[in-house]
């Protein structure tokens, strides 16, 4: 376990690198957080959702006197139609309310508006929807099969996009390989399941005519842009506020049709309108992810060195394309990052997105990387078996060790520690001791297994990375405004929109070191489009790197200005001045002035600095970095009960390198949380559709996020390879924890299954699936 120092600062100590307590917490532990559903409203909405996966709406009958909005009432509202200018992308539009056709169970058909949620629910129960069924396409393979019914007129063959890459020289290298190893991997569908489901509250201001939309989102500014586009209203008439947001994990990145409608209703009614999603709606109708088939082959030379990879990715993107990333988010991420941390220069991949009659796919923490890491790491274990070498040995032969490294897909990996973190993990877990214990256990009829996952995590990437995907909307940069007010207190307004990541604290630590003010005097303000600069929100392990970088840039400007003012006030050379503990001091003397006094001068005594310093003490920074790669090695030790198929994780270890760590306590918390979501991915969580397209896992008893019971103590080890691609030297680590567990745990399960001569390449590796494999093996002659 890592040990971190706690302290209250002072004595010119640096704030970055310390586990200070979070500035977010005092309100939250008192129950004083402000979440969207806490707001009162004059009107409440209940959506009537499609019980059918596919079909044509023949009639909607509502009770008399009830306010029931359908597609016919919102004719002028534009469909949500995200766009990619590459990969043969077919732009399909999602109507805000189903218009003529339904395409998945849970699609909103009508909105009931009433004075209370209960009343709206009662009326919704009385709305009758008549649908003429069409044959639903649930599985992506069925959807892209020849002759399958077309779900959208714009997308022939139900393929919304197709990406292809092939490196020159691939065929030759492939033909010369000593061994080809293959895996058919299956990742079933998951739901990010933030503890706060979606919610929106829109209020009309009768004086200004503006709407304030509070909603639980990761991207308030883009919500403003997108909703104003859909409604054809000036963006300046819409204020979007992400108040406290109860987890997002990617699910709250995308634009929800429901938020557009709630905003439309507030304008239409000139009043306040609230909508709080229930858990069932969240599980069936928010956004899903991870539903992929990946066939991956690796060509190795005689020494088990990987020469080439060939992949076929089929991603089930559901009924519509998510805004802003589009349904390219999973298949294109899989295609770009499949080679992972291994030195392999030949690569061929076809990645398709298949439209189906299921809930729309969107980003979920890690995006495709939990699945591609699972696939690639299973492939490496299979290859080790094929070459009869150790699973650690094959990784030693193939991990990248020299940097910068240009991947087969053209990504540039900055300095990292793929090999070192693995060796750190190997040593910490004590493999020889485990193997001895495993042998003894087997002799007693007990089955233990060990599994490794090594991976890289692309983080903190700016606009060029998104532009490379051909996105009509290319996020990337961030702007931060830092102001020292005349009382000496500091406010940083940021375009990122944290929701649990502790950015108010970590950014305050960065500012504190630059301008010498303790974090307690620094307020980081975010989430309100009226006060925060335009920005892209919080997703893709980007905020600490990009907003952190912008914060550093703005803070350095403030620092430069403070040094000038201090030089004047203390009659000293700027180079002799130290900013720390809320003061400017002349080094080696007792001359000092408080930053508060300097701030006051900066506003009220500007004549003294005329021509030298601009009035005020407010600066901006914008940062748009190329991106950096974090890396980690995860190790799981599992105990498998062959009678029941149950898997218990006995030990879980992470050796992680995310560059410079700003707050180790917060960094560890991100890894913990990610790993546990990954454990859910590996063993427990699955959205199950039946053949008719109905969801069988529509509550939290059937869809099972891990509880404290399923989770072992997680052992963390850190390395810090400072990033050359990030001015704070920090790399992102929001998603890394989530990426490793399916690979490490399922490799461990397969290790435990070795005596039975069966292998599982499907996640989640549920007891049912493991038992089915064992049953078949028992039955085999």
């Amino acid at each position: 376990m890592t040990a971190h120092t706690k302290g209250s600062g002072g004595d010119g100590m640096k704030w970055v690198g310390r586990s200070i307590r979070r500035l977010e917490d005092p309100a939250l532990v008192r129950g004083k957080g402000r979440f969207t559903a806490d707001l009162p409203a004059a009107h409440w909405v209940r959506f009537v959702r499609s019980p059918n996966a596919a079909g044509t709406i023949k009639g909607i009958t509502a009770p008399d006197d009830a306010m029931v909005i359908t597609a016919a009432d919102i004719k002028g509202v534009k469909k949500i139609t995200p766009m990619l200018h590459k990969f043969s992308y077919r732009p399909v539009g999602q109507p805000i309310l189903a218009d003529g056709e339904v395409r998945f169970v849970g699609e909103a058909i009508a909105a009931v508006v009433a004075a209370s949620e209960e009343e709206a629910e009662d009326i919704a129960d009385l709305v009758e929807i008549e649908i003429e069924d069409a044959l639903p396409l649930v599985d992506s393979r069925a959807a892209v099969a020849d002759g399958a019914r077309q779900i959208h007129a714009e997308a022939p063959g139900n393929v919304i996009l197709k990406g292809e890459v092939k490196t020159p020289g691939f065929d030759e290298v492939w033909a010369g390989a000593a061994k080809i190893v293959k895996i058919d991997a299956r990742s079933n569908r998951q739901n990010a399941t933030p503890m706060e489901a979606r919610a929106a509250h829109a209020a009309y201001d009768s004086i200004t005519g503006r709407i304030t939309l509070h909603c639980t989102t990761q991207m308030p500014h883009l919500m403003r842009t997108a909703i104003a586009d859909c409604l054809g209203m000036p963006e300046s008439d819409l204020r979007v506020v992400a108040p406290d947001v109860g987890g997002g994990f990617g699910q709250k990145m995308s634009l929800c049709a429901e938020y557009v409608l709630v905003t439309w209703l507030a304008r239409h009614l000139k009043s306040s309108v609230g909508w709080t999603e229930d858990r069932r709606e969240n599980l069936i109708a928010s956004f899903h992810s991870r539903d992929q088939y990946i066939a991956l082959e690796g060509a190795f030379d005689k020494d088990a060195k990987l020469l080439a990879l060939r992949a076929d990715v089929l991603s089930n993107v559901g009924a519509y394309s998510c805004f802003p990333t589009t349904s390219g988010v999973e298949p294109l991420m899989a295609m770009a990052e499949m080679p992972g941390p291994y030195d392999v220069q030949q690569y061929q991949c076809v990645a398709r997105g298949a439209l189906t009659n299921t809930c729309t796919m969107a980003a979920y923490r890690g995006v495709s990387r939990p699945v591609i890491t699972f696939t690639l790491e299973r492939l490496m274990d299979k290859a080790a078996k094929a070459f009869a070498i150790d699973c650690i040995d094959i990784r030693r032969r193939n991990l990248i060790t020299t940097f910068p490294y240009k991947s087969a897909t053209g990504l540039e990996y900055d300095e990292a520690s793929y090999r070192q973190t693995m060796e750190m993990a190997v040593e910490a877990i004590n493999v020889p001791a485990f193997r001895a214990r495993q042998q003894l256990a087997r002799e007693k009829g007990e089955y233990l297994g060990i599994g490794f996952a090594t991976f890289s995590e692309r983080t903190g990437y700016g606009s060029p990375a998104f532009a490379a995907r051909g996105m009509a909307i290319t996020p990337g940069w961030e702007t931060v405004h830092v102001t020292v007010d005349p009382s000496g207190f500091v406010e940083a307004r940021i375009g990122s929109s944290p929701h649990g990541q502790g950015l108010r604290t970590t950014l305050a630590q960065i500012i504190a070191d630059e301008i010498g003010v303790p974090p307690g005097m620094i307020k980081v303000v975010h989430g309100d489009t009226d006060t925060a600069p335009y920005g892209w929100g919080t997703f893709a392990s980007r905020s600490l790197v990009i907003s952190g970088g912008a914060t550093l840039i703005a803070s350095r400007k403030i620092r430069a200005k403070l040094l000038k003012i201090a030089g004047h006030m203390l009659e000293a050379a700027e180079t002799d001045i130290v900013l720390a503990d809320g003061k400017a001091k002349v080094a080696g003397t007792d001359r000092e002035v408080s930053i508060a006094a300097m701030a006051r001068e900066a506003y009220t005594q500007t004549h003294r600095f005329k021509g030298e310093i601009e009035p005020g003490l407010s600066e901006s920074g914008t940062y748009d970095p190329p991106g950096t790669f974090s890396n980690a090695c995860h190790v799981a030790i599992v105990r498998l009960d062959p009678e029941t198929g149950h898997v218990r994780i006995e030990r879980y270890l992470v050796a992680e390198d995310a560059g410079r760590i700003i707050n180790p306590m917060i960094a560890d918390g991100q890894v913990h949380g990610g790993v546990v979501q990954g454990i859910g991915n590996a063993l427990l969580e699955e959205i199950v559709y039946d053949d008719s397209g109905a969801i069988l896992t529509a509550n939290l008893a059937d869809y099972m996020p891990p509880t404290a019971h399923e989770v072992p103590p997680i052992e963390l080890h850190h390395m810090e390879t400072p990033s050359t691609q990030s001015i704070t030297k920090a790399k992102g680590l929001g998603e890394g924890g989530t990426i490793g567990p399916p690979a490490a745990i399922v490799n461990a399960i397969n290790d435990a299954l070795t005596p039975f001569n069966v292998e599982i390449d499907t996640i989640p590796a549920t007891p049912q699936r493991i038992r089915a494999l064992l049953r078949n093996a028992e039955r085999a002659p």
Partner: protein, 158 residues
């Protein structure tokens, strides 16, 4: 919609005279009729525990109890944990040990842990994890929640 019933809920020692339908859950009544929005609703089917409050010294899921059932009982919510500016040891421990991230599940975990430790101050580590597995958290991976509750248990025994 059915007839409303007048009742009084006693939350954190304060009486709230409200009028609700018999079907109204305690969670909704606490939040909407009594304005105590610190109690959160995560699933409304009794699995996630975000809405946990203490009713007559026992932690309960307020989404599974009707408001009318809570009349005459002592209800404690997260807003009642701190004594003015002094946080309850459990709140302090969650802050000290990074036992929360987004903070949505936190009030439920606080009330669950306080309720259990008041009843069973010397609870074993194993039983504690059993109890904490009643509630869901999606951010912390439970590591620091367990650590926080253990730290608070020590403090509460003093």
């Amino acid at each position: 919609m059915s007839e409303k019933t007048a009742l009084t809920l006693t939350i954190n020692g304060k009486d709230h005279a409200i009028s609700v339908e018999p079907r109204r859950t305690l969670a909704d009544a606490i939040r909407e009729d009594c304005g105590q929005t610190g109690t959160h609703i995560g699933c409304e089917h009794g699995v996630c525990g975000a809405c946990t409050v203490i009713v007559d010294d026992a932690p309960v899921r307020s989404c599974l109890m009707f408001a009318v059932q809570a009349e005459g009982k002592k209800i404690r919510t997260v807003e009642g944990l701190a004594d003015g500016d002094t946080l309850h040891p459990m709140q302090q421990a969650f802050m000290d040990n990074h036992g929360l991230q987004c903070g949505f599940c936190t009030p439920g975990f606080l009330m669950l842990a306080v309720g259990v430790l008041e009843r069973e101050p010397d609870i074993s580590d194993e039983d504690l994890i059993d109890v904490l597995s009643s509630n869901l958290c999606r951010c912390t991976g439970y590591q620091n929640i367990i650590k926080s509750v253990r730290a608070a248990a020590q403090e509460m025994r003093k």
